[in-house]
Every structure is written in structure tokens, then in C-alpha cells.
């Protein structure tokens, strides 16, 4: 007779549960992160320090063609992006059917502001560039089919229309 002792089995199961669970959650998060299409949106921001988590950039979206104040954005269910990825032509408050919806997260509004973790070595230069009016920051984000927005990176380019004069 070589039947496993039920107590020992339970003991092993209890030990394995955290590993299996964390592994499964990681796999799900990883898979989800690969879905969706990438878009570009102008942002403005600043860089508060957070000692525990390293540096991150908190930014405000400049949604093209959206005339809505922060109050409206805070209560909106979501936004609808129009255009061909990655270029957004215009953005409207989400009402009814939409091909590229951005849905508000439950954690907060998520439509007016967001945050992106940036490497320590890039945080300070990026903050300076964001404060520079002659440049504008573009956030590349991935929009999942379920409407979840995942920020990827911020690039800074000379603002359109304003040729920075050579000193």
C-alpha cells in the first residue's frame, strides 16, 4: 500500500498554494500586458519623489480635441479614441459604441492623470524636459481590448509650431 497520507498531502498543498497563485497571477498580468494596440498622447507632468518605489512621473493627459474639465473627466465612464494607432485624431467622452474605448479604472479616475515608473537615471532629465515649454512630452501607451490603459514610456520632442531659436 503506497497511498499518500492525507495530512502530508494537505501540508504540501498549503505550501504550494502561494507559489501556484503568485505564478498564475504573474502569468495573467504578463499575458494581458502583451494585448492591445499602442497609441501616443501628449502629456504634461511633474516628478514627486517616492523613496519606497523609486521614481515615477505623474502626468496629466492633453487629450486632443477634448473640451472637458477635470470634473467631467472624474465622473466619466471612459473615453473614446478616434484615429489610426498610434495617432489619436480626436477624443470624446465614451457614450455607446466605440472601437477604441478607454475605460475609467475603479482605483481612481485614471482619465485625467496617470503615472509611469521611470528608471532613476532618467527621472531627473525627464523632469527638466517636461518643465521646458518649448518641448512637449508624448506618452506611448498600450490600450487593451478591455479598455485598460497601460503607460509604456514618455518621449520628449520639440513642440510643434515653435522652432526653438538657436542661442
Amino acid at each position: 500500500m503506497n497511498r499518500p497520507n492525507p495530512r502530508a498531502l494537505l501540508r504540501a498543498l498549503v505550501l504550494a498554494l502561494p507559489l501556484l497563485g503568485l505564478g498564475a497571477i504573474w502569468a495573467i498580468v504578463h499575458t494581458r500586458a502583451q494585448q492591445g494596440v499602442e497609441w501616443d498622447v501628449p502629456v504634461r507632468g511633474y516628478d514627486p519623489r517616492d523613496l519606497l518605489r523609486g521614481h515615477y512621473i505623474v502626468y496629466r493627459y492633453d487629450w486632443p480635441g477634448l473640451d472637458a474639465g477635470p470634473a467631467l473627466l472624474a465622473t466619466a465612464r471612459g473615453l473614446c479614441l478616434h484615429g489610426e494607432p498610434p495617432r489619436i485624431e480626436r477624443v470624446a467622452i465614451l457614450e455607446g459604441a466605440c472601437t477604441h474605448p478607454v475605460r475609467a479604472t475603479e482605483a481612481g479616475s485614471g482619465l485625467a492623470t496617470g503615472r509611469l515608473y521611470v528608471p532613476q537615471s532618467q527621472a531627473a532629465p525627464l523632469e527638466r524636459q517636461l518643465a521646458d515649454d518649448s518641448r512637449r512630452a508624448i506618452l506611448r501607451f498600450r490600450l487593451r481590448p478591455d479598455g485598460h490603459l497601460m503607460p509604456l514610456r514618455i518621449t520628449v520632442e520639440p513642440a510643434a509650431g515653435t522652432r526653438s531659436p538657436q542661442p
Partner: protein
């Protein structure tokens, strides 16, 4: 090795005739045989700490250059290592470290994949994955507190979220759901009583039962404190929300009491269900009678007088002293509530100072004189 001071003391005791030479020698031999290399341990501990801090700072300095997946793999491997060690060894530290690493793993995932979710989601998932392990293997306060504090934190965050998103039209449901969430740790008490009788770690379950009782007493105290306001006479969202909350907390405590009563039939163990049933009375009473300072104070003091009585019965010294201290504190607060203008005149200040001194003196006398002796420190308690 005995330290110089102890040696001097031994010599002095021998000279004073308190101990004889043989005893002196025996003590010295015993101490020599049971010496612990504290200095060596401290040095080794210091070295291990330095190496650990070094690794942490090296990793932190190159955080950005390490790809997210590798960092997560490292994090995961650390958890795996601790859990693998638990196959052979039984130690609370080997539970605590992967527990905390598991909590931070959720934050790390969020950082690498730039995701966010309401805080109660990762906390709840952690409880789901880790509490079977903690409850099955934990022994001391470290694990009891890790489990219970995370549970309460999760429920507090969840309750806050429920209230934030509350629909005024559904005040009943919101009140009941919030209160059920907050009161549910009370149900740990019957679970602990059940497990205590079957486990080879009764101390662990007794500690957990104490925390469940402590949390239930906190909720009842909060209800008593809230009875300063009269929710009974308020307009609707508050009226139904508060009544639903009071009834839900009360029901949960009654269920805990009933299950405890069924589980334990011996006379001494009757006390615990009685305490829970007593706590269950407070929230509805606070809702019904609330609206004056005197009622709020009487409810609070009555609640803790009952708990003091129960502690006396159970021989739980610390709980008795805590109850007396809280009653005294509430009495002082009440005196200020009733005569707040005392503080504006010199004679009033003197009077209130005397009152505080009197209350503190009385409380100290009661707490010292009537407190039960702590039998077998740390293991006393209801049940």
C-alpha cells in the same frame, strides 16, 4: 562566562551570608555551562546584516538596468526558497519573510507592468494564497499579527471603497455590507476555538482568538463612541445606513457567540460566548439610545465594565487593567464634555485637575488591588 559585576555580586552575597561557598561555586559552574556566546552572535549577526544591506543597495542602485522579468524572477525565487525551507524546518521567520515578500510581489508586478488596482484586491488575493499556510504552520505573535492585521487592513480598505461608491438609494445594503465586512473577523473566534481543540499549536489559536475578541470589543466601543450622535432622528441615508450597520455588526457577533456556545460546553468556556453576546447588544443599543454625552459615556463605560468583569472571571490581568484604564479615561473625557467651560476659569482648571487626579488614583487602586494574578504569563485569557 559570568560578567565581572555578577561575580562581584555573588562574592558580596557570599560575604553577607546570603549564600554559602558551595552555592556560589554551583552558580558559577551552572552559568559557565549555560553561557551563550552573545558577542560572537552579535558579530556574526552584524556581518550578515551588512551583507544583506549590501545586496539590497547593489540591487537598488542597478534597479533600472535589471529587466523587470528578471527582477520578478529573483523576487519569486526568494519566496520559493523560503517555502522550500519550510518543508524541513518549522520556524515563524520562514513564514513571515515569504509572507511579506508575497505582499510586495503584488506591488512589484504593478511596477513592472504599470498596472494598478484598488488596494483591497492584492491584499485579498494575498490572504487567499497565504492565510492557509500561515494558519497551518504559524506559532507565535509574529504570524498571528501578520495574518490578523492584513485581514483587518483589507476589510478596512474594502469598507472604505464601499462607502466611497455608495448609492444613497441603497443605504441599507451599503450599511449592511460595510458592517458585515468590518465585523467578520469576529468569526475567527469560533474558528480558533474549534482549531484549538484539535491543533498541536493551541497557543497560536488562543492568540488569534484574543485578537478576534479585541477587534470585536473595538467595534462595540466604536459604536458606543458613535452614540454621541443620534442616528435615530437623522434623515434617511444616515438613518437606514446606521441602523443596517448596527444590526449587521450585532448579528455577526451573535453568530460568533452561538457557534462558540455550541463548540464549547464546559463551564469555564461559557464565558467567551457570553462576552460576544454582550458585545452584540452594544451597537443596537447605541443606535436606539444615542444622542447625548451621558448616554455615550455610560454605554462605553458599561461595555468596558462588563469586559473588566469577564477579565476578572477569566483571570486575565492585562485585560482587566486595560478596561479600568479605559473607563477612567472615558470618565475624564465625560467631565470635560459636561463642563467644558471649566477650562476657561482658574478655579475650573484647578477643579478639573483635581478630578483627573482623583479618577487616576481610583483607577490605579482598582487596577492594582482587584486585578487577577497572571497565571503562567501569556497564556491566560477567556476560555
Amino acid at each position: 562566562m559570568l560578567q565581572a559585576m555578577s561575580l562581584r555580586k555573588l562574592k558580596a552575597w557570599e560575604d553577607a551570608g546570603l549564600i554559602d561557598a558551595a552555592t556560589h561555586a554551583r552558580i558559577r559552574d551552572w552559568e559557565a555551562a549555560h553561557a551563550r556566546p552573545y558577542a560572537l552572535r552579535a558579530v556574526v549577526g552584524l556581518a550578515v546584516l551588512a551583507i544583506g544591506l549590501g545586496i539590497v543597495s547593489v540591487v537598488a542602485a542597478h534597479w533600472a538596468e535589471i529587466p523587470g522579468e528578471i527582477r520578478l524572477t529573483l523576487h519569486f525565487t526568494l519566496i520559493l526558497g523560503c517555502l522550500a525551507a519550510l518543508v524541513r524546518v518549522d520556524h515563524d521567520a520562514l513564514l513571515f519573510v515569504p509572507g511579506v515578500l508575497g505582499l510586495t510581489f503584488f506591488g512589484h508586478l504593478g511596477q513592472v507592468y504599470q498596472t494598478s488596482s484598488p488596494l483591497y484586491v492584492p491584499l485579498g488575493l494575498w490572504l487567499l494564497l497565504f492565510s492557509p499556510l500561515l494558519l497551518a504552520r504559524g506559532r507565535g505573535w509574529l504570524i498571528v499579527l501578520l495574518f490578523f492585521a492584513t485581514l483587518v487592513l483589507t476589510l478596512l480598505v474594502y469598507a472604505g471603497e464601499l462607502l466611497d461608491r455608495a448609492d444613497p438609494a441603497e443605504a441599507w445594503r451599503t450599511g449592511a455590507r460595510t458592517a458585515l465586512a468590518l465585523a467578520s473577523p469576529a468569526l475567527i473566534a469560533p474558528l480558533a476555538a474549534w482549531a484549538c481543540a484539535r491543533s498541536d499549536r493551541p497557543g497560536f489559536w488562543r492568540r488569534l482568538a484574543r485578537l478576534a475578541l479585541g477587534w470585536s470589543a473595538t467595534l462595540a466601543s466604536a459604536a458606543a463612541a458613535a452614540s454621541l450622535a443620534s442616528f435615530r432622528t437623522q434623515p434617511d441615508p444616515e438613518w437606514s445606513l446606521s441602523l443596517a450597520a448596527a444590526l449587521a455588526v450585532s448579528t455577526t457577533l451573535v453568530v460568533a457567540a452561538a457557534v462558540l456556545r455550541r463548540l464549547r460546553s464546559d463551564a469555564q468556556a461559557r464565558l467567551e460566548p457570553t462576552v460576544f453576546a454582550g458585545l452584540a447588544v452594544v451597537p443596537p443599543l447605541a443606535w436606539l439610545l444615542g444622542g447625548s454625552e451621558v448616554v455615550a459615556a455610560l454605554l462605553f463605560m458599561g461595555l468596558w465594565a462588563g469586559l473588566a468583569l469577564a477579565a476578572l472571571h477569566a483571570g486575565w490581568r492585562e485585560a482587566f487593567q486595560l478596561a479600568v484604564a479605559l473607563i477612567a479615561l472615558r470618565l475624564v473625557i465625560l467631565s470635560f464634555e459636561l463642563a467644558g467651560d471649566l477650562l476657561t476659569s482658574g478655579a475650573g482648571l484647578i477643579l478639573s485637575g483635581l478630578l483627573i487626579l482623583g479618577v487616576v488614583w481610583a483607577a490605579l487602586r482598582v487596577a492594582r488591588r482587584f486585578a487577577p494574578q497572571a497565571p503562567g504569563r501569556g497564556e491566560a485569557g477567556p476560555g
